[in-house]
């Protein structure tokens, strides 16, 4: 029994419930939030080490045998992104614990962040299509409230867009789950992977593929379903943006990766569609970012653009490309959250994220400048940072199968990303503060007692930026792990045998023979 496999989900969920019970005390709320997030990170790291030593871990909930109950599955891919995700989540929750004021706190802010963390872990670990739908909904409802919490018209507008689009995507996913059940009579990932090739009607399988890809692509903000992201992510408070930026779209990418590799690995049409989406997503996102002058909005466009890189690995579908996607997802969660946290500190200090009104932060806030530079260089893919390793792996995988178009796009987009980062650098950090803009130096950088120094708010972003640098320098062992993940994704029999047992194929054969005899 691997009952502890549920810890990354159960721990933050329990912390959320405890937070609800202790909603009278603000200090207790902050503490419990951090305990929930750190506990999840520890559980995720233990999981990663176990998977590294013993291979795929499976937990059948309630001891129901595999295709009938809900299975939790942790393979190399799931555990790697889970660790990166909980690290990013942990940093944003700590930033929030330092900065979120009494108003939002009393409205259950930290209960929701814990539920969000639990739901993200649930989506990463589940091995059941309908259970994935439920985790998506848990994640969404928590994110809806976090996004809408606040007094500004544009926040309500951003939240409305976000909720409407996500409801449509969820309905699409639900219909997809219905089709999957109608075609195969199962919802278990491994069982679906076994049975889908037996479905005789190719159009129906393609419809299933279209529904799942549409649903997950819009959750992942892939073009042309990406418009909701840059119109909503910059509207809530910076701590919420940071939490969303690291986690939410990556859950969509993860679901897409699972379904493409398990359900449609041999379908050239599906692969080319994903590859096409990848190229368009990269380009449209990065061009959108060039026109922006709101710091967080600019970074939001880059989330969409970077999702394209993750899809690129899925479209190529070789073990190396999938390893690239795995590593890219992990480093992106960490780097992007760091950038949003920097934006959060800037906004708290100056009162605005509007680049034309900012300037001169290099003189007044050197530590913040260094943190931004590290994260921005990593995002743009400059060696020796993690972003470079990720992009290099994807380009290598692309040249190996001679997909020159996508390789070309990815390199051009990388340069354009650097351009955007240089723009933030120039506008916010390097140029002099514009005439007439008074330094709006916030009296309070954090919401803790006055005796706590002001620079603590930089720590979460700084830790993540250092983690991103470390990922670049420790690329060897991490990449080995990612390559193991890529090989597992490319060869789905590993996943199927881990969940259904080694006789899965033989069982399927007997069942098919029996069914044929019965129909005679």
């Amino acid at each position: 029994m691997n009952a502890w496999l549920i810890l990354p989900i159960a721990w933050p969920l329990a912390a959320g419930a405890l937070g609800l019970a202790l909603s009278g005390s603000n200090t207790a709320q902050r503490l419990i939030a951090v305990i929930g997030a750190v506990g999840q990170l520890v559980a995720a790291v233990v999981l990663l080490l176990t998977v590294n030593a013993q291979g795929t871990q499976v937990l059948h909930m309630g001891s129901w045998p595999a295709p009938f109950g809900i299975s939790l599955v942790a393979d190399h891919f799931a555990s790697f992104v889970l660790v990166a995700g909980s690290l990013a989540g942990c940093a944003s929750v700590i930033f929030a614990a330092l900065t979120v004021g009494r108003q939002r706190l009393t409205h259950g802010y930290f209960v929701l962040t814990n539920v969000l963390l639990a739901a993200v872990a649930g989506a990463f670990l589940t091995g059941d299509l309908f259970n994935l739908y439920v985790w998506f909904e848990v994640m969404l409802i928590a994110s809806f409230v976090l996004l809408a919490m606040g007094p500004y018209p544009r926040q309500a507008a951003g939240a409305t867009n976000y909720v409407a689009l996500n409801l449509v995507a969820s309905a699409t996913f639900l219909v997809g789950a219905g089709v999957a059940y109608a075609l195969t009579g199962t919802l278990n990932f491994a069982d679906l992977a076994l049975r889908l090739p037996l479905v005789e009607s190719r159009p129906l399988v393609l419809i299933l593929a279209a529904l799942l890809i549409a649903a997950f692509a819009s959750k992942a903000a892939a073009y042309p379903l990406s418009a909701w992201l840059p119109s909503s992510y910059h509207t809530p408070a910076p701590d919420v943006s940071a939490l969303f930026a690291g986690l939410l779209t990556k859950v969509g990418v993860y679901a897409l990766a699972r379904s493409v590799t398990l359900f449609f690995p041999e379908d050239a049409l599906v692969r080319n569609v994903v590859l096409g989406l990848a190229g368009l997503t990269m380009l449209v996102g990065v061009f959108g970012a060039l026109a922006q002058f709101n710091m967080r909005r600019l970074l939001s466009f880059h989330i969409a653009s970077q999702v394209g890189y993750m899809l690129m690995g899925l479209g190529l579908l070789t073990p190396l490309a999938l390893a690239g996607t795995t590593f890219y997802m992990a480093q992106h969660m960490i780097t992007k959250t760091a950038l949003f946290l920097v934006a959060g500190v800037v906004e708290r200090r100056t009162g605005t994220g509007y680049l034309k009104r900012l300037g001169g932060l290099y003189r007044t806030n050197l530590a913040l400048t260094v943190v931004f530079a590290l994260a921005a260089l990593s995002l743009a893919g400059i060696p020796p940072f993690a972003g470079f390793v990720a992009k290099f792996t994807l380009v290598r995988a692309g040249t190996a199968v001679e997909s020159w178009v996508i390789v070309g796009i990815s390199i051009v987009v990388s340069l354009l990303t650097l351009m955007s980062m240089v723009k933030i650098w120039n506008e916010a950090f390097w140029k002099d503060r514009p005439e007439g803009e008074v330094e709006h130096d916030a009296a309070r950088m954090h919401a803790l007692p006055r005796s706590v120094p002001r620079w603590v708010v930089i720590l979460p972003a700084g830790t993540l930026a250092l983690a991103s640098v470390a990922m670049g320098f420790a690329a060897g062992p991490l990449m080995e792990y990612a390559i193991a993940a890529g090989e597992e994704l490319a060869d789905r029999s590993v996943y199927i045998e881990a969940v259904l047992g080694e006789d899965a194929w033989a069982d399927l054969e007997t069942m098919t023979v029996e069914a044929m005899e019965a129909s005679r």
Partner: protein
């Protein structure tokens, strides 16, 4: 029955799509309500409509009676209805707030690029 219900599902999806393409917030709400119902009905029909008996396992044989109905789609729909209902209720509340804050029900309302953010809202707060 399938022949009857399939067009109903189709009409629901078509109506929902039409309503969702409108700019008005009110029509979006109704569109979303229709969409979730259409999805639920779709699962119901796709899983096969049959006059089955209750799928209760016989204690003697340890197997469900012959011709038992499939309980899984119904469980799925039940879950989906509850989730859809809750989320839609939230959306209606949010729509009310949107209308109150922006003074319009037009979804194309756009805030200025340097409109205040929540960063300002809390910076002076203890």
């Amino acid at each position: 029955m399938e022949v009857l219900l399939a067009p109903v599902v189709g009409i629901l999806f078509a109506a929902a799509t039409y309503l969702l393409l409108q700019r008005s917030l009110g029509e979006t709400i109704i569109g979303l309500a229709l969409l979730t119902n259409a999805a639920n009905l779709f699962i119901f029909v796709a899983a096969g409509l049959s006059k089955g008996v209750a799928p209760l396992i016989d204690t003697e044989t340890g197997e469900p009676p012959p011709g038992a109905a499939d309980p899984v789609p119904q469980a799925l729909i039940l879950t989906a209805i509850v989730i859809g209902f809750g989320v839609l209720a939230f959306f209606i509340t949010l729509a009310y707030r949107y209308h109150r804050l922006t003074g319009t029900d037009d979804l194309e309302w756009i805030a200025a690029d340097d409109a205040p953010t929540s960063g300002e809202f809390e910076s002076g707060e203890p």
